[in-house]
Structure formats: structure tokens, C-alpha cells
């Protein structure tokens, strides 16, 4: 397949979940109030949180996958994947703050101070914000070697998000265990590579 074509249309892949969510929202507002179930705000919170997590896993997968299939075009999409992860995490937070809590600032503040799962989610979100804000070419140029160091923040962010999910889970840890396995395998891969190159 034409690599230029893949690169040019990659953004479609990034906005596909957004289009899906947008379609559901349009449905709920104009056609069928039940399209997102009886608790639509909670549904969107969960949906965007899950999509953000997928993109986070995708970012972490790029390097190992690239070494196997030697797709350099994919490597160039890594930053875009990371920005998408942040965008969906932001939508996740907006659904929670705007739709679920309806901007009750006092409750937002109390949650942030009292609920451990919100605290770790918030910290992870801040890290993703820093990474997304420094994902442009100018930042890469200006920061030079420090850019790579800074962007290793993605690993602690991933760990915090796993803790976030672990604390949200009620009766079963299967899903958290699966994502944890993925993240830990990738971490292991990464550290072995670094050991080799050192």
C-alpha cells in the first residue's frame, strides 16, 4: 500500500471513535433519547475513557511493532496517536465535569481532594497534557535531547491510568489485568532494549 496515502489518511483513524460518539450524541439529541442508555452521561464518560486508553496502548505499541514490521511511516504517527490519546482523555474529563457533575465546581474540587481514583486520573491527565503540548515540531527542535527524556513521562502516566482503572473496577479485574499485561510487556520490552543499547 502507498505509504504516502497511509500517512495522509491516518487522521481518519484518529477521529473515527469521535465520529462514532458524535453520531450517538446526535441520535440522542434529535432522534432517539435512549441511544446511549438510561444514563447517557456516564456512558460517554466510560466510552471516552476507554478510547483514550486504547490510544495510549497504541502509542506504546508503535516502537515494538515498528521493529517487527519495519514500518517507518508508523513511527512518524506516534505523536499524532499521543495527541489523540490526550484529546479523548480531555473529552472523558469534559463528560465527567460538564455532563455528569454539570459544572458544580464545589463537587469537582471535593472529588479531586477526596477520591483517590480521581486524583490519579487527574495526575495522569496532567502528564498527558504536558506531552500533548510538546508534541509539535518546534518543541522537538527546541528541547533536543531533553524531549526524549520528557516524553518518557508516558510510562508513569500509563501506570497511573491502570491504577485509576483498578480503583474504578467493582467486582472483577479481568479488564484491568489485560491492559496491565499489555503495558507491562511493553515496559519490559523497552527496558530490555535500553539494556541492550547501553
Amino acid at each position: 500500500m502507498d505509504k504516502m496515502l497511509l500517512t495522509r489518511w491516518f487522521w481518519l483513524f484518529l477521529v473515527l471513535p469521535f465520529a462514532f460518539a458524535g453520531f450517538r450524541v446526535v441520535q440522542v439529541v434529535w432522534y432517539d433519547a435512549s441511544a446511549l442508555g438510561p444514563d447517557p452521561a456516564q456512558n460517554l464518560v466510560d466510552l471516552f475513557g476507554t478510547i483514550a486508553l486504547w490510544f495510549l496502548c497504541a502509542v506504546l505499541l508503535v516502537t515494538p511493532v515498528q521493529t517487527v514490521i519495519k514500518a517507518r511511516w508508523l513511527l512518524r504517527q506516534r505523536r499524532a496517536l499521543g495527541v489523540a490519546c490526550f484529546a479523548y482523555a480531555l473529552l472523558h474529563w469534559l463528560s465527567y465535569a460538564g455532563l455528569l457533575l454539570e459544572w458544580q465546581w464545589q463537587n469537582l474540587g471535593q472529588d479531586l481532594l477526596n477520591r483517590p481514583y480521581v486524583i490519579v486520573g487527574f495526575l495522569a491527565g496532567l502528564m498527558l497534557l504536558v506531552l500533548a503540548a510538546t508534541s509539535n515540531n518546534a518543541s522537538v527542535r527546541v528541547l533536543g535531547l531533553r524531549w526524549r527524556k520528557l516524553h518518557r513521562l508516558v510510562y508513569p502516566a500509563a501506570l497511573l491510568i491502570l491504577i485509576h482503572m483498578f480503583w474504578v473496577a467493582r467486582s472483577d479485574y479481568t479488564e484491568v489485568a489485560l491492559y496491565s499485561a499489555v503495558v507491562l510487556l511493553l515496559l519490559l520490552h523497552r527496558s530490555r532494549q535500553r539494556a541492550k543499547s547501553a
Partner: protein
């Protein structure tokens, strides 16, 4: 009206809750001694809410339900949500999992084993256990600990009537309930990463169990309980968080010691034995001062303040007189 044969649209799809409501008000109006009149109306509502695969004896017992003064007149949560948005972790963690994965569960024939401090111990067919007990319709608020709530028209027998039939000894201070254990029909029970122990266990103090509001439910919306709602027999304690209302009950045990419940065992800091709805005591994960009354809309989540004992304080607060409800949450 007859449901179209082979068609996709069932009558349930086209019968709004208001129709059900009207039937109910009609029932209320006809009050006592109108069994003959009630039977046909409830029969109609049965076909309105899906096919009811329960055995005849249960269907006919449910059909003779009489209205109750304990019912609220608040707007009902639609049938599709009451039976499509559930926490029944034995069938999965998603809210739509119980409806999706509960269909292979076989609630009949059903037996209940009664043990402990009672004269009437043994294993009973459900039919014998319920025989002769009058089913009532109770429209109750249900408040989930996750800060959402519904209004649900249950059918069931007063728990006191059922327990009295089992002749508990005076030494029995608590009653424990246990959900059936069938990992081959309940994927959640078979999960390797389950975070709670199965079978699910719940319990009540005897005076809570004998309270007139406490219901042993056998149906909902004029029909027998669908699997996802805890077929064929479940507890309903309207002033406690939903997780107390244990589903698909297989065992009843009378004891003199407070039973350790499933959630208490998994996380005692978050879930207490009493679990009375209390807006003043926060849960580490969910704010309890208010709730979303479902269905909520996307841009207006229908928040209402949560009331002490879920609005049933007048009848039940006295059960807890002198107790520190922050300590006994």
C-alpha cells in the same frame, strides 16, 4: 391486542409505561375483592412486557397481585431500563451484560434451602415455599450505591409472611441469604479475576427482615422476574443501597451472629453491613448526597437530592435509634 407472529416488534415496544400505569391505577381503584377483574388486566400487561417463561403456578400467583399502600406514585422507570440496565455481576460487569448473558440461566425448577435457627429447616420447592402467600405489587424507589436510582413496580410477598412460615427460633437475630452458585451458567462466577467471592451473600437483622417494607420479590412490571433481575426470587429492601437486595436466592440461614456479607468481605471500608441509604455518609468513590433518577438526559442529568433511608425514614428510622450511622454505615 396480539403480538405479530414472527415480527420483530413486540407489544412491549409499542406499549408505553403510561398504559401500564393506567392499568395499575385501575387496579388500585378496583381494590379488594376484584380478583376476577384484575386477572385479565394483568394478563394484558404480561404480554406487554416480553414473554414470561415462568411456570404456570408462579404466573398465576403473580397475576393475582394486589396493590399496596406502600407504593410510591412517582414516575416509573421504563421497563426496558429496569430489565436492560442492571448490576448483576454474576452475569458480567457491564450494565447490559445481565440481559445479554443471563438468557441461558434456568431459574426453574427452583429450590430453596433453609437452615440454622428455625423450626422449618430443609430444602423446599419454590412452589411449596410460596404456596398460599399473597403477592402484592410494591412500587419502590431503588437507590444504587453508584448514585443513580430507579422507580420499579415489583411483585412479591412480604418477607415477614415468608419467614414466619419458617418459624425462626427466638435466638435467631439475623437472617442470611445466598445467591445460587452456577459458574457454568453465570460467567462472572467463573472469572479468574473476580474481585468478590461467590456465591454472593447478604444479610439482614431479623427486625429489618420482618419489617413490612421488606419484600421477597417474584416479579416486576406485572410479570415474573426476568433472569437479569434475579429470577426467580430476590430480596427488595427499599431503604438500603441496591446491592443489599440479593438476587436469585438459593439459601436462607437464620443465625445469632451478624453474617459477613460479600461486599463487606471484599472492602469493609467502602461497604458496611447496614448499607442504609444515607446522604450524610459519603462513599469513597460515589457522592451520596444526590442521585441521577434514571433515565437521565445527556444535557440534564436529572439529579435529585438523596433522602435519608431513601425517603422511607418515617417507617424505618426507628429501627436504628441510638445507633451511630456513621459507624454502622
Amino acid at each position: 391486542m396480539k403480538a405479530p407472529v414472527g415480527g420483530k416488534l413486540t407489544e412491549r415496544d409499542v406499549t408505553p409505561e403510561t398504559v401500564y400505569l393506567n392499568r395499575r391505577q385501575y387496579l388500585k381503584a378496583s381494590a379488594v375483592g376484584a380478583a376476577a377483574l384484575m386477572a385479565p388486566t394483568l394478563k394484558a400487561s404480561e404480554s406487554a412486557y416480553g414473554t414470561d417463561p415462568a411456570p404456570l403456578w408462579l404466573k398465576s400467583q403473580n397475576k393475582q397481585a394486589s396493590p399496596s399502600p406502600f407504593s410510591t406514585t412517582e414516575k416509573l422507570t421504563p421497563y426496558e431500563y429496569v430489565t436492560g440496565y442492571n448490576n448483576f455481576y454474576e452475569f458480567g460487569t457491564g450494565k447490559d451484560d445481565p440481559e445479554k448473558y443471563g438468557q441461558d440461566f434456568k431459574p426453574h425448577p427452583w429450590q430453596v434451602t433453609v437452615s440454622g435457627l428455625a423450626e422449618g429447616t430443609g430444602t423446599f420447592d419454590l412452589e411449596d415455599l410460596l404456596k398460599g402467600l399473597g403477592v402484592e405489587e410494591r412500587i419502590y424507589r431503588l437507590r444504587c450505591v453508584e448514585a443513580w436510582s430507579m422507580v420499579i413496580p415489583w411483585l412479591g410477598v412480604p418477607m415477614a409472611a415468608l419467614l414466619q412460615r419458617l418459624k425462626p427460633l427466638s435466638s435467631a437475630r439475623y437472617v442470611a441469604f445466598e445467591t445460587v452458585y452456577r459458574p457454568e451458567e453465570m460467567p462472572g462466577q467463573a472469572s479468574f479475576f473476580a474481585a468478590i467471592d461467590y456465591p454472593y451473600i447478604e444479610g439482614l437483622r431479623m427486625d429489618e427482615a420482618m419489617h413490612p417494607l421488606t419484600l421477597m420479590a417474584t416479579g416486576v412490571y406485572g410479570r415474573s422476574l426476568p433472569n437479569q433481575n434475579g429470577a426467580p426470587l430476590r430480596l427488595v429492601v427499599p431503604w438500603k443501597y441496591g446491592f443489599k437486595s440479593i438476587k436469585s436466592i438459593r439459601k436462607i440461614t437464620f443465625t445469632d451472629r451478624q453474617p459477613q456479607t460479600t461486599w463487606e468481605k471484599s472492602n469493609a471500608r467502602e461497604y458496611g453491613f447496614y448499607a442504609n441509604v444515607n446522604p450524610a455518609v459519603d462513599h469513597p468513590r460515589w457522592r451520596q448526597s444526590e442521585e441521577r433518577r434514571l433515565p437521565s438526559a445527556l444535557f440534564s442529568s436529572n439529579r435529585v437530592p438523596t433522602l435519608p433511608f431513601n425517603g422511607y425514614a418515617e417507617s424505618v428510622a426507628s429501627l436504628y435509634q441510638g445507633m451511630d450511622l456513621r459507624k454502622y454505615y
